[in-house]
């Protein structure tokens, strides 16, 4: 039995302690926003926060979460569903295409901005280089991080509803 909190709620699961956090979160807790992309910490689609630190959940055993706090993409918005600054910027810059990698991108960007609220282009490149986007939305991710940081104004599409 491994005990931890998931998005602020206490949880305990019966699982092989070596099972990666990714599969515990997806299969046992039903939180499917965290994605499987490569299984070997190369693509970042599975990024979650463990006690606030971004980790590749496909390669981190659930035993590592004992007594800790896991945050997934489902736990990023406020309790009433209000999107975080990073999420809002992802919407205003119209970042996602297929969207499959974007949970991991947002988790990585959220951690970056918490530790470095005014990142340079080089800081962004370094922090985000572990997250692959096959659709190629990097230009927009870069812009959205700057918008979330308040370094650039939101583009704001013409029609908002």
């Amino acid at each position: 039995m491994v005990k931890f909190t998931i998005n602020g709620k206490a949880a305990s699961v019966e699982a092989d302690p070596a099972m990666p956090i990714l599969w515990v979160v997806r299969e046992k807790l039903g939180l499917t926003g965290t994605k499987f992309g490569c299984g070997v910490a190369q693509c970042g689609a599975c990024t979650v926060h463990l006690d606030g630190q971004p980790v590749r959940s496909c390669s981190t055993p659930i035993a590592e979460a004992e007594g800790k706090a896991i945050t997934t993409i489902e736990g990023v918005a406020g309790p009433d569903g209000e999107l975080s600054k990073v999420q809002q910027a992802w919407v205003s810059e119209q970042v996602p295409q297929c969207g499959y990698c974007q949970s991991g991108q947002i988790m990585a960007a959220t951690a970056l901005l918490r530790d470095n609220p005014q990142p340079s282009d080089a800081d962004i490149d370094t922090a985000m280089a572990g997250n692959i986007c096959r659709c190629g939305t990097y230009v927009r991710i870069r812009a959205a991080i700057k918008v979330a940081a308040g370094l650039e104004p939101a583009k704001g599409a013409e029609l908002r509803s």
Binding site: D16, M19, P20, W23, E27, G30, L31, T32, G33, T34, K35, F36, G37, C38, G39, V40, Q42, C43, A45, I73, E74, V76, A77, L83, Q87, W90, V91, Q94, V95, P96, Q97, C98, G99, Y100, C101, Q102, S103, I106, I124, D125, T126, M128, A129, G130, N131, I132, C133, R134, C135, G136, T137, Y138, V139, R140, I141, R142, A157, E158, L159, S161
Partner: protein, 749 residues
């Protein structure tokens, strides 16, 4: 930029409009629809329960329903794989309907024969019939609807959704529904229909001061006769079309709520998970399986030798994968004698050698190439080659299956839900009506999900277990055992006259799939041309890759044009512009990209700029790439892209597709290589099959020219083709080194 065409071509638009309307009408089975769910015997009667089961919902026609809350739902047949099709097709329908965009929702059309995309199939199969006389239109439409239904023609690909289904189905459905709503209100209010106006999902009659939401007349509208010529908007009246309308699917893609195939749940059931391992070399079989250790491992439920692949089913995917790793197997000997990449390219070279100057199957023959070549003041020759590529969508191949009692239910990410249904039915010995498909969003498609191999594998596993099972490929399986963009080789000789003009053009290559004209740069004025294909055996199975043949042909052609410019001693831009006298739209696009890049200003020391121009899927694209070679390795700094898609229905969405296509094309050009060793693929995961990352991505600027508002081009693929040649040409400009074999980064390791 988002320029409206100066002079809308009214007569042409009106003609096209009428055809489009009839198309929509025939699609629903002879009469576009009405009163769904209330008339037995009406073919659309069965659509009601299928798509409009919610309380108070009224299906107005096949493609839209209106709820009691005045919510308009567009029923979109194409799959959402990141290209934004759900939003933009809804945007087109809503504009013609005069709907309030904040009250518009989207629904994925079910995998049902009623929702085949007739106009997409027709555009692919027989584009000539789109210009048929009006009186033949019902016949063609009826025929192609039948063909589409027989062929399971519910397909998303070919950068076609906006220009086929959007233009010829969704807009017409919206315009027709608007007129039906007006007709119903006119009858109820007893006023002339012409006096009723529509805006923001409301009907208004100014003289009497009456107004009502659409929902109030939805049921009555569905009883109206179909208008024979619904009035379509001219571009100056577009309210949503041509605007940066935010995508409907994005909010769910930033909070984890969006559901992809891999996220499928089987209601009320506990899932099991399958990990699979296909035979390493195509065409071989499992000779012997040893599962002694695997069957003792935790969570394992079943171990299967399916002949062409192995599978372990377990309580958890991770347990299944762990146990599969412990299964050992031997395989039969492969028949193909192609063992290495060198073997593969030797086959290509042999085919080109055998074809010589004239051999192979002719694709384009124009003028007199031998005579022009002989008269040339100078000739230039070059061979180019590209390797196999894996599509590598970030969502690995997967499917969830529950097969029991002679029925089968499938959840999967697919670009071809009806074909997947038929393929699974065939594999299980069922009729296709016994198979139900659920197809949520795709975590990338790129052509890979036009294939149904993975769905069939999951169906066979599901049939063996009889309980719900979710099969997921590992990234290694996805990289090594799937279907691939073909490798290819292309040989050119060009003849330049004394003025440095390209007067003779001789080209032969080995792989030809789609589109048919991808090998011809028809927009360049080259008087004598011979383009041929000399087919050669491919070792790995083929699947269409984003932009298909353009993905290699653009690299071949636009590299060669650059070499011809160099041989002629001309600037690459000037050389191209001089050949575009007959192609003003192409010329405008090329000039725009060059202007954006500041082509005439010298780049910084160690930097080089390259340019390329292509037309694919009806869209003209020019790109300038700037590369910094000062470290000895390519570092991309900028891409400037100008594109003319005819008319960009959603400019921001179009720009996003261009940006994505450019990154996809640059990734392939720089890194993409699937190579062979002992007949098997060498690469396995993203450490050795590299994809471009954030720190390698250049700044990208995109500008749009709206050059023809009637004949539209596509968005998903056209950004890709110019990227590779523009980059290779930039490296040449910076270093004087001409690279004729992709991937480029390999030459600077």
């Amino acid at each position: 930029m988002n320029d409206m065409p100066q002079q809308p071509q009214r007569s042409r638009a009106a003609k096209w409009t009428r055809r489009g309307f009839i198309g929509a009408g025939v699609l629903a089975g002879g009469a576009l629809v009405i009163g769904v769910g209330v008339r037995t015997g009406n073919p659309v009667g069965r659509l009601g329960p299928l798509v409009a089961g919610g309380e108070g919902e009224q299906l107005i026609n096949s493609w839209l329903k209106i709820g009691a809350d005045n919510i308009v739902t567009a029923i979109v047949p194409h799959c959402e794989m990141g290209q934004g099709v759900h939003s933009v097709l809804a945007q087109m329908l809503a504009d013609e309907l005069d709907a309030d965009w904040s009250l518009v929702r989207v629904m994925q059309a079910p995998a049902d024969g009623s929702y085949v995309v007739t106009d997409t199939i027709r555009t692919f199969v027989a584009p000539g019939t789109l210009d048929a006389p009006d009186w033949l239109e019902p016949t063609w439409n009826g025929l192609f609807t039948k063909i589409a239904q027989l062929a399971d023609g519910l397909i998303t690909g070919g950068s076609s959704s906006i220009r086929t289904t959007g233009q010829r189905t969704m807009r017409i459905a919206g315009a027709a529904a608007r007129q039906m709503l007006i007709g119903a209100a006119a009858r109820e209010w007893d006023v002339a229909a012409a006096e009723i106006t529509t805006a923001n999902s409301m009907l208004s009659h100014k003289p009497s001061g009456r107004s009502a939401p659409y929902s109030q007349f939805a049921a009555a509208a569905a009883e109206q006769d179909m208008p024979q010529t619904p009035q379509m908007k001219a571009p100056e009246n577009y309210r949503l079309m041509g605007k940066d309308v935010p995508r409907i699917d994005i909010p769910d893609k930033v909070n984890g709520a969006a559901s992809f195939g891999i996220d499928a749940v089987v209601p009320g059931q506990t899932l099991t998970y399958a990990a699979v391992r296909r035979v390493p070399v195509p065409g071989t079989r499992v000779a012997k399986m040893d599962a002694a250790q695997a069957k003792t491992m935790p969570g394992v439920l079943q171990i299967l030798n399916m002949g062409d692949f192995l599978a372990v089913v377990a309580d958890s995917y991770w347990q299944a994968q762990q146990a599969l790793n412990a299964v050992t197997a031997e395989y039969t000997a492969p028949e193909s004698t192609i063992r290495s990449s060198d073997d593969q390219f030797a086959r290509f070279a042999a085919a080109l050698d055998a074809a010589g100057d004239k051999g192979g199957e002719e694709v384009i023959g124009r003028g007199d190439v031998p005579t022009a070549m002989q008269a040339a003041a100078k000739t230039v020759s070059a061979d180019y080659q590209v390797p196999y590529l894996a599509h590598a969508p970030l969502e690995p191949m997967n499917a969830t299956v529950w097969a029991r009692d002679g029925r089968c239910e499938i959840w999967t990410s697919t670009q071809v839900p009806l074909m997947a249904r038929s393929a699974a039915a065939k594999a299980l010995g069922l009729s296709k009506d016994d198979v139900t498909m659920h197809h949520p969003m795709l975590g990338g498609g790129f052509g890979r999900r036009l294939e149904t191999d993975y769905v069939v594998m999951a169906a066979r596993i599901g049939q063996a277990t009889g309980y719900p099972v979710k099969m997921i490929w590992s990234r290694e399986e996805d990289t090594q055992k799937g279907l691939f963009r073909c490798a290819d080789m292309s040989r050119f000789t060009g003849g330049l006259d004394a003025q440095g003009r390209l007067t003779a053009y001789n080209n032969v290559f080995t792989q030809r799939n789609d589109p048919a004209d991808a090998c011809d740069c028809a927009f360049y004025d080259i008087p004598n041309k011979s383009i041929r294909v000399a087919e050669a055996e491919l070792h790995l199975p083929f699947a269409a890759f984003r932009s298909v043949d353009h993905s290699q042909q653009a690299f071949f052609i636009e590299s060669f044009i650059d070499e011809a410019a160099q041989a002629a001693g001309r600037d690459p831009l000037e050389f191209r512009l001089a050949m575009l006298g007959q192609s003003p739209r192409h010329k405008a696009v090329l000039e725009k990209a060059a202007a954006m890049a500041g082509w005439n200003a010298k780049p910084a020391a160690g930097h080089g700029r390259g340019i390329a121009l292509t037309e694919s899927f009806g869209t003209i694209v020019a790109e300038v790439v700037e590369v910094d070679m000062s470290s000895g390795k390519p570092r991309l700094t900028n891409v400037w892209c100008a594109a003319d898609p005819g008319f960009a229905m959603n400019p921001d969405g179009f720009r996003n597709q261009m940006e994505g296509g450019i990154v996809f094309g640059l990734t392939a050009a720089l890194y993409g290589e699937i190579s062979l060793k002992d007949g098997a693929v060498e690469q396995s995961n993203f450490h050795d099959y590299k994809l471009m990352r954030m720190d390698e991505c250049p700044a990208i600027a995109v500008e749009i020219i709206n050059g023809d508002h009637v004949r539209l081009g596509g968005a998903g693929e056209p950004g890709l083709p110019p990227a590779a040649p523009a980059l290779a040409n930039a490296i040449f400009a910076a270093t004087g080194k001409r690279i004729r074999a992709l991937p480029l980064a390999k030459h600077f390791a």
